[in-house]
Amino acid sequence: MSTMAGLRLEPSDAQAPLLEVKNLSVSYKTGFGQVKAVDNVSFTINSGEILGLAGESACGKTTTALSIMRLHDKNTIIEGNILFKGKNIVDLTDEQLREFRWKNVSMIPQGSMNSLDPVMTIGDQIIEAIRAHKQTSKSDANATMERVLTAVAIHPSRAKNYPHEFSGGMKQRAVIAMALALEPQLVIADEPTTALDVVVQKQLLDLLKQLREHLRISFLFVTHDLSVISEISDRVAIMYAGKIVEIGQNKAVLSHPSHPYTEALVDSVPRVFGKRELLNSIPGNPPTGIWPTGCRFNPRCKYAFDLCREREPELELSNTGTMSACHLISHPNRA
């Protein structure tokens, strides 16, 4: 039995995972030396599944997302394996990567709706993205462009508009259309709803669910917004200080958290519905680059005991079925 985080214990004739990230570590070379932004992270995404990756600033979630698209520069050291449909993409050449990207995995980067080219029409930008990754005729590319715009509920007649003529929500949908153009099996979305109003946000989340239903696209949905993650994800992974601290089914992780950080995070979000009460904040700040010894959450954890300061916990099966990296699992009497 593998201790690989997130691996569902299914019968052997189940479909193999679409994406397998195994022991991924990503280090940046900085003026202060090497900083390990992502530290030994493992997870899988199955076909047609939405995995939510949640965490706060500097937890490593964006770095993880970028690694899957191999978007890091030469100063970044990547260790571990990333398997897409069984094939390791860590060793692909630049040429092979260009083939791989957009057709298999595409990305909606953070703030992308504000990075649209202001002097090109929406339609032309989508066509450009298509032709950058695939040999296509202009007319075929045009047909594809109209198809994906329709898929994101933008009338193809609007392809001739410029970005400033679109609302925020429409721009974001245009970017999603771009990411879908070559029919990838996996789309990585990094904070796709952060700058949007709650009403537009809901429309976008509904759209993503529909795309998953009808086109069987998987999503890696990266965000700090727990309520959004809870709404959209099948499974959830919580990251803290470069590590996954808890991973499992959406409801299990967010409604019955096992890890103290997940619990504290869920409890620190002011609720619109439900009981109105004074909440307790998590003391201290999330660490940035310089990790505490032992469990990285220990300085802020209300349950911390001596072992927590000495040894980093490994991911273990919790009693809600999630994998959680916390010494309390093997030492329940210290809670």
Partner: protein, 333 residues
Amino acid sequence: MSSQEIRQIQQDKKLVEIQNLKVYFHQRSTMLGKKVTLHAVDDVTLTLKEGEVLGLVGESGSGKSTLARTIVKLHRPTSGQVAYRGEDISRQDRKSSKEFRRHVQMIFQDPYESLNPQANVFNAVLEPLIIHGLARDKTEREAKVIELLRMVGLDPASKMDRFPHELSGGERQRVAIARALSLNPELLIADEPVSMLDVSIRLGILNLMLELKERLKLTYLFITHDLGVARYIATTVAVMYHGKIVEIANPDELIAHPLHHYTNLLLASIPGSELSEPSRQSTEYTFNPAEPPQGCRFHPRCAAAKEKCSTEEPTLTEIRKDHFVSCHYPLAA
């Protein structure tokens, strides 16, 4: 008068009275060379009572920030009036205006809007005191800054000499709050003060603000797009849409009995909401502050809109106790 009676009078004291305020921006549209007028705040009447926390909720473009900035005199009213303790703020002479700035302070979404990146924490907090001629000598200054930093939960010894970029987002916001409090203001206007902060830090700032309100007898105007945050901190919530106030009520009343269709839409859109989304909703509606809809501003998106809504503007009316709504056909109470 008994102390009870005095307290009663003070409780009813109106701190800020906004009457039919309009703040329009005249711009030449850059793409087409056409002159456009942006109706940012469009005939708002609102009262802020002493001791209240008024949560102003709305989407971006609703006019909430413009309204806040007009109260602190960063924008001039196009028409209408803003009165502070009964005095029209646009008619203040220099002396009264400077006095006013001691009473009303603002903190912003991005702490860098109030913090000079070249000033260390000590000087950032001290500057307002110097400008207003308070805290004359070195000992007094140091004592005051230390007191303020402690009040916002920062350790003076380790933070005083730091520069803003050396602090975390939450710490920067605490410094901005300390700076805003240095003049002992009565009213603090906070424009999305926690939106840029990490989830686990937000609550710390919100709890700090609640604590300071009690301790220093402050009044807050708190702007946010997040209903959860508004519910947590506000005693009254006003919902703004397209430059207008559409509903006012206390948070629990608003959430349990939304009367305006826009409020209902907001509540139904919140992730995890059990409310069903109103049936008719224009997905392509583009908000254009230069061309507000005729009649009720919300009617193009409203499932319950009837003919009257496109011709006649509704006005704020008390439908339930202490619950006001601006709608011709409010949701069943």
